[in-house]
Amino acid sequence: MNKQKYQELTKKHSPKENKVKNMIIAFVVGGLIGVLGQLLVDIYINVGSISKDEATSLMMVTLIFLSCLFTAIGFFDNWVAKAGAGLFVPITGFAHATTSSALDYKKEGFVMGIGSNIFKLSGSVILYGVIAAYVFGIIRFVFFGG
């Protein structure tokens, strides 16, 4: 069997991912997270009579609280596996990645386990966010005067 035939054969037998279905699920789930966020903001503004900025912060805290809780209870992993980008692109993904790495390394102790590994999955978001913001900030400050 030559190489080309082999590749054709493996392609035929490797599991097909339904890309269209994945895209629709990601779109709908991500959109629903956006709607949930907007709903929470409106509820907090009307019920708590607070400013829009405070309500937005409170909405972020709520979403993070829920995804940390659901991850720790255990069923959020399955949701993220099914919804794909629909759940890991919103802020829920950041909270999920942080909580799941903290849980995974809990057995290695508080400092060497949780402390060293809590940002194992989500740390790159902070790192490259800060680097990018710093570089773009300097560009904007130097060339456009702040």
Binding site: K19, G34, G84, A85, F88, V89, F136
Partner: protein, 116 residues
């Protein structure tokens, strides 16, 4: 109407993420890092501000807004304090998200056990 805009914006950002995930070898970590950088780049020219004002919470919940908040805080401080403001203001707006994540992740890690 703002609900429809929120749905569409958050949905389309997640859709782009899913397309990248399915068609390249990039992992979720790569995609979220990329999106944060894109968010910071867009806010350099105040484009992401426009998104947040137009699309409401849909633009806030996406991880791109993390990059937007980082550079937004840094530039706001830089406007008043000069270049040092890039250091003092970097986390001024993202503090909510990072602090909430650390605190809730730690508390729930103490209470719950990892599943197999």
């Amino acid at each position: 109407m703002i609900y429809l805009y929120s749905f569409l914006f958050a949905g389309i950002v997640c859709l782009i993420g899913q397309i990248i995930l399915d068609n390249t070898k990039l992992l979720p970590g790569h995609i979220t890092s990329l999106f944060v950088i894109i968010g910071a780049a867009l806010d350099t020219f105040a484009i992401y501000d426009f998104f947040v004002n137009t699309f409401g919470a849909g633009a806030v919940v996406c991880i791109t807004s993390f990059g937007h908040l980082l550079i937004h805080g840094a530039l706001a401080k830089a406007a008043s304090d000069g270049l040092l403001g890039l250091f003092t203001g970097m986390f001024s707006l993202t503090a909510t998200g990072i602090t909430a994540t650390i605190i809730f992740a730690f508390i729930f890690t103490l209470i719950f056990k990892a599943r197999d």
